[in-house]
């Protein structure tokens, strides 16, 4: 399908129509930050923002998810399988880096022999409409990781702001079907496409930080025992802010919680930064200090994931850079690795 376009003035009514049929999630302002929430009216969606505080991976991999519930009373003892979502969902207005993170998470949750049905079900029932970044932040470095401010990876539709209108790139069949059902969309004309190309070029050129992640991976291949890790981890607090806010971090814990006779097996986000992450019942911990844990995080994202899937587990969104309480900047770490 050719590129389409939609007038900015029509966007709210488009969203309102979607809301009648789908659960629509969009960025919404909350104090000084932005969160992804279900919206009940098109006007709630925030379109002029850089990125959300928490990554939208929560849409497919919520922080707390029930795997199954059970009854502990002798007569009813047994497992109750979870009910999967019924309504189709639309995530609207996420950034291309976050959309790309879904593709990376797909490798983990559905790319192997074992299929995570909770994640897969949500992915199947969700349509992704991304909003390209006309003005990437100074902390963005998506282009170094194989993405970009207008990357199509992971989205069904991509909106590009060209002033009074959005050009709409139709990426998947699912996206095309949606477009066909809504009258607000029309074919983009040459003028719009010209504006679009200008916007795209300007945005991509504005991303100043570049790093060759393949070279980083090659360096990391031989760096496991390097004293580098003592230096780089010295100021790390071992809090897990970076992992929880990272769109591609996927580690989780599984716990049982019981109230009275009813219980649930729940999975919750966990972090390799925590001291007990690899602690064995014998008391032995292969990662006893912050150094081993920082090493694990960097190695996993920029070497192990590349070994297994051919791509780094990072989308260059910059959340970890902005939120780290001690300004441990991943860009500085990657540059230091290249200098070893």
């Amino acid at each position: 399908m050719k590129e389409m376009k939609i007038a900015k003035n029509d966007l709210v009514s488009f969203l309102d129509t979607l809301i009648t049929e789908y659960e629509v999630f969009a960025p919404v302002k909350k104090d000084s930050s932005v969160v992804f929430q279900e919206i009940y009216s098109g006007s709630e969606a925030l379109l002029d923002y850089s990125n959300s505080q928490k990554p939208p991976k929560e849409m497919f991999f919520p922080q707390k998810e029930r795997l199954f519930s059970y009854d502990l009373s002798p007569k009813k003892a047994g497992i109750e399988e979870p009910l999967l979502a019924e309504k189709q969902r639309i995530i609207f207005g996420i950034r291309p880096c976050d959309a790309r993170s879904f593709v990376l998470l797909d490798r983990v949750f559905s790319g192997g022999v074992y299929k995570d049905i909770y994640y897969i079900d949500k992915r199947k029932k969700t349509l992704v409409i991304a909003l390209g970044c006309n003005r990437p932040k100074s902390t963005c470095f998506c282009t170094s990781l194989g993405g970009g401010p207008f990357s199509q990876e992971g989205s069904d539709l991509l909106l590009i702001d060209i002033g009074q209108e959005y050009v709409v790139q139709v990426i998947t069949d699912k996206g095309e079907e949606l477009i066909k059902k809504h009258k607000e969309f029309m074919e983009a004309d040459e003028q719009s496409l010209f504006s679009m190309r200008k916007v795209v070029d300007t945005a991509e050129a504005s991303i100043k930080f570049r790093v060759d992640v393949w070279k980083v991976k090659e360096k990391l291949d031989g760096m496991f025992d390097d004293p580098f890790w003592d230096l780089v981890s010295e100021k790390c607090l071992g809090c897990s802010a970076c992992t929880y806010l990272c769109p591609t971090c996927h580690c989780f814990d599984v716990v049982d919680e019981v109230i009275g006779q009813r219980g649930e097996r729940i999975r919750i986000w966990d972090s390799c930064a925590f001291p007990n992450f690899t602690l064995q019942t014998s008391g032995f911990n292969p990662r006893p200090t912050i150094k081993e844990r920082v090493r694990q995080r960097i190695m996993h994202k920029f070497k192990y994931f590349v070994d297994n899937y051919g791509v780094a587990a990072c989308v260059g969104c910059g959340r970890c850079i902005r939120e780290c309480p001690v300004n441990l900047d991943i860009r500085a770490v990657l540059n230091s690795i290249l200098e070893r």
Partner: protein
């Protein structure tokens, strides 16, 4: 050459001090701040070589409490410490996590650190690309804007109520002492909050702490949260659940505040570290206020003080005994 140039600035004095300490081998390590990778940020740095002393800086973004990095070290350490950081060091010495001889305190009288979250709110999400501290102002530049802000207005809340801007102990003091904040009732906000109804207060806490993602940045940033195994990680017995269930989250924060009773110096590190912007200090300062009222005690003033929860007096209040 005007009068300003005759007085070397604080950054230069810190560098000179650190360089000398390392050259003369009076310390093995200096912990201070270096320039961060973002505007209005500094980052902790660890210097073991006198040539690296050049990196050290001092400005209104040196917000982290470096006392967090002092424990479990064999070396003699020089540490750049502002008023609140020094008080944390005093507490660590009292709790025998550190000896006075082990640490060479480079004390910095402090006029306060800026709160980036307040600034972001003021700028309505516009990104700062360049920042300059000029006397009492902050000049912030971004895409199509320049804003000049009054630094005082954007100080961190913990700095605005701080009564110990000058280090209470030190081995060398950098620069001149600054005026203390004598007149302020530092607990006014807490008293006003306490006056609200239980329902109002409960609503505040449930709304605020439902944001918590249990990342434990607050705990990890605190110099005095150093338990080998934090109570949230105990499994035998398990004290609280690990999920973001609101009652588990509230218990975590309340218990952490109580564990810090008589020890917390209100440096604000927990509050600043929180990625969700939760007002953690509402809890910690209530506990601090109660300790002051009940035991006439403030943490971090003198290494000779006995922590209030480690001792008793015959005239301790006992209204709770009916």
């Amino acid at each position: 050459m005007n009068g300003d140039d005759l007085m070397p600035d604080i950054s230069t004095m810190i560098r000179d001090t650190a360089r000398k300490l390392l050259e003369e081998k009076k310390v093995d390590l200096v912990i201070g701040f270096e320039k961060g990778t973002l505007p209005l940020r500094s980052t902790p740095c660890f210097i073991r070589n006198s040539k690296e002393a050049e990196k050290l800086v001092w400005n209104a973004s040196c917000e982290n409490n470096l006392a967090r990095y002092l424990r479990k070290r064999q070396e003699k350490i020089g540490i750049v410490a502002k008023g609140c950081d020094v008080r944390s060091i005093v507490e660590l010495i009292k709790e025998k996590q550190l000896t006075r001889e082990q640490v060479f305190i480079i004390g910095i009288p402090c006029n306060g650190m800026v709160d980036r979250k307040k600034i972001d709110l003021k700028l309505n999400g516009r990104e700062i690309l360049e920042a300059e501290e000029k006397d009492a102002t902050l000049i912030l530049k971004g895409y199509n804007f320049t804003e000049t802000l009054d630094k005082e207005e954007f100080l961190h809340d913990s700095c605005r109520t701080c009564k110990y801007r000058n280090p209470v102990i030190y081995d060398v003091l950098i620069g001149n002492k600054v005026a203390e904040n004598e007149g302020t009732d530092e607990y006014e906000e807490i008293r006003q909050f306490e006056a609200k109804s239980a329902d109002e207060r409960w609503q505040f806490f449930t709304e605020e702490f439902s944001q918590c993602i249990r990342c434990y940045a607050c705990r990890n940033a605190c110099p005095l949260c150093y338990c080998q195994e934090c109570f949230v990680d105990n499994s035998q017995p398990q004290w609280i659940g690990k999920t973001t269930n609101l009652s588990d989250t509230l218990i975590f924060h309340v218990v952490r505040a109580l564990h810090a009773a008589g020890r917390c110096v209100d440096c604000g590190a927990c509050d600043r570290a929180c990625p969700m912007g939760i007002d953690i200090r509402k809890l910690t300062r209530k506990v601090q206020m109660d300790v002051k009222q009940l035991f006439h005690y403030e943490a971090g003033i003198s290494v000779d003080d006995i922590p209030p929860l480690a001792t008793f007096n015959l005239d301790d209040p006992q209204e709770f005994i009916k």
